[in-house]
């Protein structure tokens, strides 16, 4: 139990996927313009990440390790993620059209989100057991969502600021992301080894 809580806190705050590993930067910068779309994107990522890391764990340990085919992990994980996103999309479309409309283009975009592939690879590299892998996937998604929402909130407020002309648009966004990453470094002393 202690292990699981540790994994949860360290993945959400300390080793945050976006601000510490710099994974999934493209949706982080692309979808953080408005808070409403950031929420949609965040929840889709949580959903897909949790399922992707648990199914990837099953396939890795039950098939690839047994057959000595570990070198196939990259290509297998990509296959898993892509198919999973498709399945999730179909379910959402059928059972919740309003959620489907709200998520819009972000659901298929997750297929190419490197944070999710990274999550599956880290989970394997750290030799997690199944429960740990599920918690790891969920907290990685949650960490992504938290950072995305914080960033979207800041960028919405930035619209009302007098930004110097040379910094408008992409430069101020990157500076904000950098400052946010610096802030998250403050969490690195949260847990004593």
């Amino acid at each position: 139990m202690k292990e699981l809580v540790l994994i949860f806190i360290s993945t959400v705050l300390i080793n945050n996927f976006v601000l510490t590993y710099f994974l999934g930067i493209c949706p982080f910068l692309g979808v953080s313009g408005r808070l409403s779309s950031a929420i949609g994107m965040g929840f889709s990522v949580i959903f897909v990440m949790t399922f992707a890391s648990s199914i990837a764990w099953l396939i890795y340990h039950l098939i690839l390790v047994k057959l000595n085919l570990v070198f196939l992990e990259y290509i297998v994980f990509i296959l898993v993620i892509a198919s999973l996103v498709q399945i999730v999309e179909m379910f959402v479309r059928k059972y919740s059209p309003s959620l489907y409309q709200a998520l819009g283009i972000y659901l298929p975009l997750i297929t190419t989100n490197c944070a999710i592939l990274g999550c599956a690879l880290f989970m394997v590299a750290r030799n997690y057991n199944f429960l740990e892998a599920v918690v790891y996937g969920f907290s990685a998604g949650l960490g992504f969502t938290v950072v995305l929402l914080v960033m979207a909130g800041i960028r919405e407020e930035l619209n009302y600021c007098e930004v110097p002309k040379v910094f408008r648009g992409a430069p101020i966004t990157l500076i904000t992301a950098g400052l946010l990453a610096l802030c998250f470094m403050g969490f690195s002393g949260l847990i004593r080894a």
Binding site: L64, L67, L69, L72, L79, R93, N159, Y160
Partner: protein
């Protein structure tokens, strides 16, 4: 060595097959019934989601028109699109009034007088409620709220003055909704090469107009006194009645006679 290749191929093939079978099965089971007509209508529509029809997107418009079979009009699509949609659904086609936006302020940055300095959010709406920035309380603030909402990219700001490209303008009227000073007017357009308009919105008397702007309409009435003139004065401001325009020469004459040069034209 060979064994690994065979096993790898078998595992990848097996996984791929398993996933594709699952996907195929699920796509069959979870099929969402949608009216094919909606897709057909959607193909005809311009697909720019401008909102001029009163729906938030072209898809919503297509769904409504298929479900209710009532004639709606798609303003940016023009006659062509509306005729095709009506034919497809077998409903009465409606006459489309094509409109273009004009802006009732034609003064450049140097011509508008500014005696207070505004520091704050760069949005016309803010400047309007804080009464800062510009002395003329009717005129264009020039921070471009309209530029950012225009779905066709037809509006630009040149030297502090809003310029509309009437080739690009689709007449959706988003700019008219967002402008805090109601400077935009949608005027009927039947393919003329030029649109004339009064580039001022100041309803005060000459004395006040002259103190805030060099380009303002002073309500002299020279344009109204031309024979068969479509111009009329209201609240010290000249307006054009676009229904009464008989020929362009009168408008050209009025434009040349205007002492403050605030009757302007947009070229297609």
């Amino acid at each position: 060595m060979n064994e690994i290749i065979i096993k790898g191929l078998a595992v990848m093939g097996g996984l791929g097959l398993a996933f594709s079978v699952t996907l195929a099965y699920l796509s069959h089971r979870l099929k969402v019934e949608s009216n094919p007509l909606v897709e057909k209508v959607l193909d005809i529509l311009p697909g720019i989601n401008c909102g001029a029809c009163g729906f938030s997107s072209c898809r919503n418009f297509a769904e409504a028109i298929v479900a209710e079979r009532k004639p709606f009009t798609c303003i940016p699509g023009g006659e062509d699109v509306n005729r095709k949609v009506s034919q497809l659904l077998g409903i009465q086609s409606q006459e489309v009034k094509r409109v273009k936006a004009v802006v009732h302020c034609g003064a450049t940055k140097d011509e508008k007088k500014v005696s207070s300095f505004y520091v704050g959010p760069t949005s016309c709406a803010f400047v309007d409620i804080t009464l800062g920035g510009l002395d003329c309380k009717y005129g264009c603030i020039g921070l471009g709220d309209c530029v950012s909402v225009c779905p066709a990219g037809a509006i630009s700001i040149k030297r502090g003055k809003v310029v509309i490209d009437i080739k690009k303008c689709i007449g959706c009227g988003r700019c008219a909704k967002v402008c805090p000073r109601n400077l935009f007017e949608l005027v009927p357009w039947q393919g003329e090469s030029k649109i004339y308009f009064v580039a001022c919105n100041n309803e005060e008397k000459v004395g006040y107009v002259k103190t805030v702007c060099e380009r303002g309409c002073i309500g002299c009435g020279i344009c109204v006194r031309i024979k068969d003139s479509p111009f009329y004065l209201q609240n010290n401001l000249s307006h054009i009645n676009y229904q009464q325009i008989s020929n362009e020469e009168i408008l050209e004459e009025a434009k040349n006679k205007c002492p403050t040069k605030c009757i302007q034209e947009l070229n297609a």
